[in-house]
Subunit: 205 residues, 2 copies
């Protein structure tokens, strides 16, 4: 979400968010977004396929960064930890300083079914890309798919926590959420012999 | 996916799927779906809000059934097991006998970004509803959210497995996938003391 004045996609996103907040997502046209950014409608479509995509430039950038970090990661971490650390590193670099922007973006997305659907599609693409990256590191495909889904769940939960309480920091919120996921799933754990799980949960059968 | 001849939504879904397979999702109109089902366009809109929704009557029915099973479940299972068993029971009752229909439906959804987005929105609604149901059973909200996300991941993975290999049965595929999820996440486990995880993964630090 870092942007410079010379950054056309960033200017378009800023103009779009301002207009969406003022008048609602559905009421705003691409021509109006371009005008507010002092650009042409043609320039808008040079950068974004449709009105929705202007809200997801940062999501695409985050995905690229997560994959870069994951490709450079050593093999000392298991797949879930490696994926979660990639989210923490990428998010810390890209969005850590901009909780107000993240909150405004979340409010706009939540206001429109079209945007919620596109957001879910972007997160599904992110999950699939992370699963592919984990598979390339040698994780079996099925394990990679589950680890990627768990990592995405950790990340989206942590972003919500951080938007509510930015003081704690996003990277820390991500690591806290991973602990929360492990705790939540261990509650129902029957067969891996975790002592905590045994104490909390009587096995069936 | 069970339907009788007198079942108007089922007739409309069947007509829609046949037309989507023949001519592609984008090329088919609501008027054509209604005509194929020997109904009026007005009747279509009595049952479905838009062209996309005709593909999700079975998803809405499945969600209602999962929530019914979960509401009636005893408290001997932890939240993840309870949610996964609810999916297994509901899916066994509703779709177990219809793998070809499920495969055709999946192929149509995969053919259209609009349908993929709506599918993801439906699964997100399902996940939120399951999380609410687990919270009502006394699971802390955060744990319930993670358990519901894990259960949905298990379910969607198992449906894919079952579509590829229907002989094994969907309920069994769901229980197998839960084992797969636990194994995949245990690979990266650092702090719950699972011996299997320790043997496979050297902790960082």
């Amino acid at each position: 979400m870092v942007r410079r004045k010379s950054d056309a996609p960033g200017r378009l996103q800023e103009a779009a968010m301002a207009l969406f907040v003022e008048r609602g997502y559905d009421a705003v046209t691409v021509a109006e977004i371009a005008e507010r950014a002092e650009m042409t409608k043609r320039s808008f479509f040079n950068h974004f396929a449709d009105k929705r995509e202007v809200m997801f430039a940062s999501a695409d950038a985050l995905q690229a960064r997560v994959l870069d970090v994951l490709a450079a990661a050593g093999d000392e971490l298991g797949p879930l930890d490696a994926a979660v650390e990639a989210f923490a590193t990428a998010a810390a670099a890209q969005v850590e300083g901009y909780p107000e922007l993240a909150r405004a973006r979340r409010t706009i997305i939540d206001s429109s079914t079209d945007l919620q659907e596109r957001d879910l599609l972007k997160m599904a693409a992110m999950t699939a890309a992370v699963a592919d990256a984990l598979t390339s590191r040698g994780t079996p495909r099925r394990d990679a798919a589950f680890a990627a889904q768990a990592a995405t769940a950790v990340f989206t939960t942590a972003v919500e926590d951080w938007i509510r309480d930015p003081a704690r920091g996003l990277a820390d919120a991500i690591r806290d959420a991973l602990g929360g996921l492990r705790g939540a799933l261990a509650i129902g754990e029957r067969d891996t012999g975790s002592p905590g799980a045994r104490a909390r949960h009587r096995p069936r059968g």
